[in-house]
């Protein structure tokens, strides 16, 4: 049972990775104590007494230090909320609500996966879809699993967390949309090429733009590779109250709600 709570956090660090990608580290021990890989936190990005913007913003946990009582969020500045968040200063107070949602199902908890002596796991990230993967990769490596990452971004400078994930021991293959560098193209092409080359995996996890997830789902289905997706959707409450963050169900009529049924779902459960 997830114990969601409001907490007044304190900004510990602001790390500007590129002109538009920022990591904010927050001390909020009650939330950090219970956060699991793939879950998210809603953060009020404006001043404490200001209700414009009204809505808290959802962010995946990018780092969690449950003993130190901190977590961080990694984001691209794309709108009013993230623009406000990038300008918070060390010592500022932020209201946070979390942990929220259902996180990644680890291989030993997964019924979809065939038992394997040392399961081989594939992570597929598009752009800021990398954000939830560091805590997941840490858990997978700790369990002794072999972990590979396919990571696509528009620019090579956008490949946040690449070296940190390599340092965990992951095999990391990157591609960008630049016409230079080690690999040029989309991460979905890289996925297809990896599978065509004969690489075999027992379970995959993907996070990124909806069109990318749709293409990844097709490729993994053809390869009979069980796949979990971390979804993103416009969201208000994060608690399953407003029902705003809908995602069409695959098996019958109706909708999942990304905030409480997800954000992580099995690919076969959703229409993309």
């Amino acid at each position: 049972m997830v114990s969601t709570k409001f907490e007044q956090g304190t900004v510990i660090a602001q790390e500007t990775l590129t002109p538009s990608i920022v990591r904010t580290l927050i001390h909020a021990p009650n939330i950090a104590a219970e956060a699991l890989p793939g879950q998210f936190v809603n953060i009020k990005c404006g001043a404490p007494a200001c209700y414009d913007p009204l809505l808290l913003r959802p962010f995946s946990f990018n780092r969690v230090d449950s003993e130190g009582g901190t977590f961080s969020v990694l984001y691209r500045v794309v709108g009013r909320g993230t623009e406000l968040l990038r300008h918070v200063r060390i010592g500022d107070k932020l209201t946070a609500l979390g942990p929220l949602g259902k996180g990644f199902v680890l291989p030993e908890q997964s019924k979809q996966m065939e038992p394997a002596a040392r399961p081989s796991v594939l992570l597929i990230a598009g752009g800021m879809g990398i954000a939830p993967f560091y805590p997941l990769a840490t858990a997978l490596v700790t369990h002794g699993l072999e972990v590979s990452l396919l990571y696509g971004a528009r620019l090579s400078s956008d490949l946040a967390d690449k070296s940190e994930l390599k340092a965990l021991g992951l095999r990391v293959l990157c591609c960008t949309e630049e016409q230079r560098g080690e690999c040029s193209g989309l991460v979905t092409d890289l996925l297809q090429a990896t599978i065509d080359a004969g690489d075999r995996f027992d379970l995959a996890y993907a996070c990124g733009p909806r069109a990318m997830l749709s293409a990844v789902k097709r490729v993994c289905k053809d390869a009979e590779l069980p796949l979990q997706l971390s979804l993103e959707e416009h969201m208000a409450c994060g608690l399953g109250v407003c029902l705003g963050c809908s995602c069409e169900r695959a098996s019958d009529e109706g909708y999942w709600h990304v905030c409480t049924d997800g954000p992580v779902v099995w690919a076969e459960e959703v229409k993309l």
């Binding site: 114990s3 969601t4 709570k5 409001f6 209700y51 414009d52 913007p53 009204l54 809505l55 416009h234 969201m235 208000a236 409450c237 608690l239 399953g240 109250v241 407003c242 029902l243 705003g244 963050c245 809908s246 069409e248 009529e253 109706g254 909708y255």
Partner: protein
């Protein structure tokens, strides 16, 4: 709850004049983790239709300056679904 707060509404006696607003409060269950629902005079649940409704396709929310526009499409479990799945919890919390 103080007797001073007791309020009469449409023939019902409420322990407090503070009620949740319909739509913003789900079926009460979602807020039970934050505080004791019995502190409210009543929980006003989301709108319920005779038959279940899945709600609207596509994007349902747009933020506005200091506000929010939504078009959920009255997604709800219908009267029978409400009675079977939500009402027992509300009764347990003192609802009548």
């Amino acid at each position: 709850m103080s007797a001073k707060l007791t309020t009469a509404l449409c023939g019902m006696s409420l322990s407090s004049p503070v009620l949740s607003a319909s739509g913003c409060y789900g079926y009460g269950r979602e807020f039970d983790k934050f505080y004791d629902l019995r502190l409210l005079g009543a929980v006003v649940v989301k709108g319920i239709t005779l038959r279940p409704r899945h709600g609207n396709a596509g994007r349902r929310l747009v933020e506005t300056p200091a506000g929010l526009l939504n078009s959920i499409g009255l997604e709800n479990p219908g009267v029978e679904g409400f009675i079977a799945n939500e009402l027992p919890f509300l009764r347990e919390k003192g609802g009548c």
